[in-house]
């Protein structure tokens, strides 16, 4: 089994990273860092440029995360998927038999989360595995 973490550079994700590292260490299981690079807004012109820009962001974000995890001596794996974030997490979770999916949250109201299409909100409804939502530090 493994611990799957949805990671970007948002403050919420940083706290989620710390939590995920702790869990991975506790269970002595590998940590899978997932980043979905499919742009929001669906198909359209110049889709590829948008995706490439997201992939660059993913690389720099994940580099930092991998550094932190390796400092804590946790086995780390990185997955950049050509899918939207929630779907990318679900696919990776299945591929690595995730014990839990860890994501950072923004403390949005439920209505706002539903309207903006928040990733934790989608995961809670779609996942068959446990989800751990880590709020951003106040």
């Amino acid at each position: 089994m493994s611990i799957v973490l949805g990671y970007d550079e948002s403050p919420g994700a940083k706290r989620a990273l710390t939590m995920a590292i702790t869990i991975a260490k506790t269970f002595d299981e590998p940590l899978v860092l997932v980043y979905g690079v499919a742009p929001p807004g669906g198909l359209g012109e110049e889709f590829t440029s948008h995706e490439a820009a997201l992939a660059e962001m993913a690389k720099s974000a994940l580099d930092h995360a991998v550094e932190e995890a390796s400092a804590a001596e946790v086995e780390t794996r990185v997955e950049v998927r050509p899918e939207k974030p929630a779907q990318a997490l679900l696919t990776s979770a299945d591929a690595h038999d995730a014990r839990v999916i860890v994501v950072g949250t923004w403390g949005e109201s439920p209505l706002r989360g539903a309207m903006l299409g928040s990733t934790p909100h989608k995961l809670l409804h779609l996942s068959s595995r446990p989800i751990l939502c880590v709020p951003a530090a106040e």
Binding site: E45, L54, S92
Partner: protein, 511 residues
């Protein structure tokens, strides 16, 4: 510790490609129709076209389809070798070098930017008409402008946040739009035939299909607006790529959507001319912009709100689907150092190119307000100016196609016709239209409003202004940052053309 990056391949099909056989007939049909947004296009151009060419409106609408079909072939073949990366900006740069490519990218971005204002304008006006508020009444203009700006602001915010409207909802709306247009046309023609017209009806005649009936400046003006009406149609052509067997669902749907589009445009044009008669249309020349709304009330009576509502939703939905590609073209240009890198910034949380999106909205908003305030017929003047830009970048793309494929044109007859002669003839037609229109528009008498800016027609001033600004920006950026100008033109990869190799595209992300 293992540390590696990989692009997960468990889902073999990349998300950017429609899966073979994955789209149904209805999906494909809807995509083909949605690309041109027929309800909005008709509402925007039918009045001015009828004003220009009278009973020959159906003929002009049919004739303007010809160059579009030829250019669509260029889009199809360019998309085949340079998948998804691109549009005119990327293709023209590859085929003809950075200078031409930059101007093409500028034209395509500006068309996107400039149409947003008029989309919002039509969306707001027809929404008001739905609720029986006359947007053309004296003193209402500031309200319309304010509401349109608010609409642009809200839709841009939605684009930045990256919320996606339900695809299913959009599909349903498109079907309702086309359906209500056809019902409108059918009811109008039925009432003409049964002598039940509330106006001075004329019996439809096949001679209305003659695009040359009115001749001269009216013809070029009408054709230019016709080009605007079909603008976007080329994206539906790419549907046929989803299947090599064109008899199967998606390929057939591509053909069907084109057919439905043509029938809708031509029958609505027929219906309007037949129902109202030229005398009425001439007497109401001042109502050009509103003629579609007035006639839908005349024809459908108490049910006119359905048509108004579908035009309004079409325009509002298109506003959003126009902002996204325009901001992505800017993003693409920035990533190749053809624009300042700030336009390539991605919002860390929403993952959208928020700087270029807001820039698009800001320019669109300023443009809309300025044109509304100084022009007597803002919508018409911007649409004609937009059509000049569209004709320019379509013509450029047609030539780029033949140039990029130049080593394969003589491979077989199909290549020669579809990749070489077709697109070049299309470009020639659009180029001719461009030159003729510039000549015609130089005389303010020929612009719809007859208004004169600096002694020439407003659309020409607008079009030239955009080009001059573009050239100034291009030269300035060339002096500041020459990296993009190091790109050299090339030719289509022979292996991809023969189909031995998949096009370089979205399969992986550079590591």
């Amino acid at each position: 510790m293992r540390r590696r990056y990989e692009i997960a391949t468990s889902q073999a099909e990349p998300a950017t490609e429609l899966k073979h056989g994955a789209i149904s007939f209805v999906d494909a049909l809807v995509i083909g129709l949605a690309a041109t947004s027929p309800a909005y296009s008709l509402a925007a151009v039918i009045g001015p076209i009828v004003a220009l060419v009278g009973v020959f409106a159906p003929g002009v609408l049919l004739a303007s389809f010809v160059p579009m079909a030829l250019i669509a072939s260029a889009f199809y073949y360019l998309n085949k070798v340079d998948q998804d990366c691109g549009t005119t900006f990327s293709w023209v740069t590859r085929a003809m070098g950075p200078w031409a490519g930059w101007l093409g990218g500028w034209a395509i971005t500006m068309t996107g930017v400039l149409v947003v204002g008029s989309l919002a304008d039509v969306g707001v006006k027809f929404a008001m008409l739905t609720f029986d508020i006359d947007p053309y009444a004296e003193g209402r203009q500031p309200l319309v402008i304010a509401l349109s700006l608010l609409l642009v602001l809200v839709l841009t915010a939605i684009c930045v946040v990256g919320t996606e409207a339900s695809a299913k909802l959009q599909n349903a709306l498109i079907v309702v739009q086309v359906g209500s247009l056809l019902v409108f046309a059918a009811v109008a023609i039925f009432r003409v035939i049964t002598d039940d017209s509330s106006l001075d009806a004329m019996n439809p005649s096949l001679s209305w299909m003659n695009p040359f009936g009115e001749g001269g400046a009216a013809l070029t003006g009408g054709l230019l607006l016709g080009v605007f009406a079909y603008w976007g149609w080329e994206s539906s052509v790419n549907l046929t790529e989803e299947t090599t067997d064109s008899a199967s669902a998606p390929g057939l749907a591509g053909v069907w959507s084109t057919f439905i589009l043509l029938v809708t445009y031509i029958s609505v044009a027929f219906a309007i001319v037949a129902y109202a008669g030229t005398a009425y249309l001439r007497d109401n020349k001042d109502e050009e912009e509103a003629i579609f709304a007035i006639l839908s009330t005349e024809v459908l009576g108490g049910w006119d709100w359905i048509l108004m509502l579908s035009v309004s939703t079409a325009a509002i939905a298109s506003t959003q689907t126009t902002i996204i590609p325009a901001s992505r073209t800017a993003l693409s240009m920035a990533r190749r150092h053809a624009l300042p890198s700030v336009f390539g910034t991605i919002h860390p949380r929403f993952r959208t190119p928020h700087v270029s999106t807001w820039a698009v909205a800001a320019i669109a908003g300023v443009w809309y307000v300025v044109v509304s305030l100084i022009s007597e017929n803002a919508l018409f003047d911007s649409l004609t100016a937009l059509s000049l830009l569209i004709a320019f970048y379509y013509a450029l793309t047609g030539i780029a196609c033949a140039v990029y494929y130049r080593r394969h044109l003589l491979d077989n007859a199909k290549n020669l016709i579809l990749i070489g002669i077709g697109p070049v003839v299309g470009s020639g037609l659009l180029g001719w239209l461009l030159v003729e229109s510039i000549g015609d528009q130089a005389d303010p008498e020929n612009s719809y409003s007859g208004q004169s800016w600096f002694g020439v027609g407003p659309p020409l001033v607008i079009g030239l202004f955009i080009f001059v600004v573009g050239i100034v920006l291009m030269v300035t950026w060339r002096i500041k940052d020459g990296r993009y100008w190091r790109e050299r033109p090339g030719v289509a990869d022979p292996a991809v053309v023969r189909g031995d190799k998949a096009p370089a595209g979205t399969k992986g992300v550079d590591r």
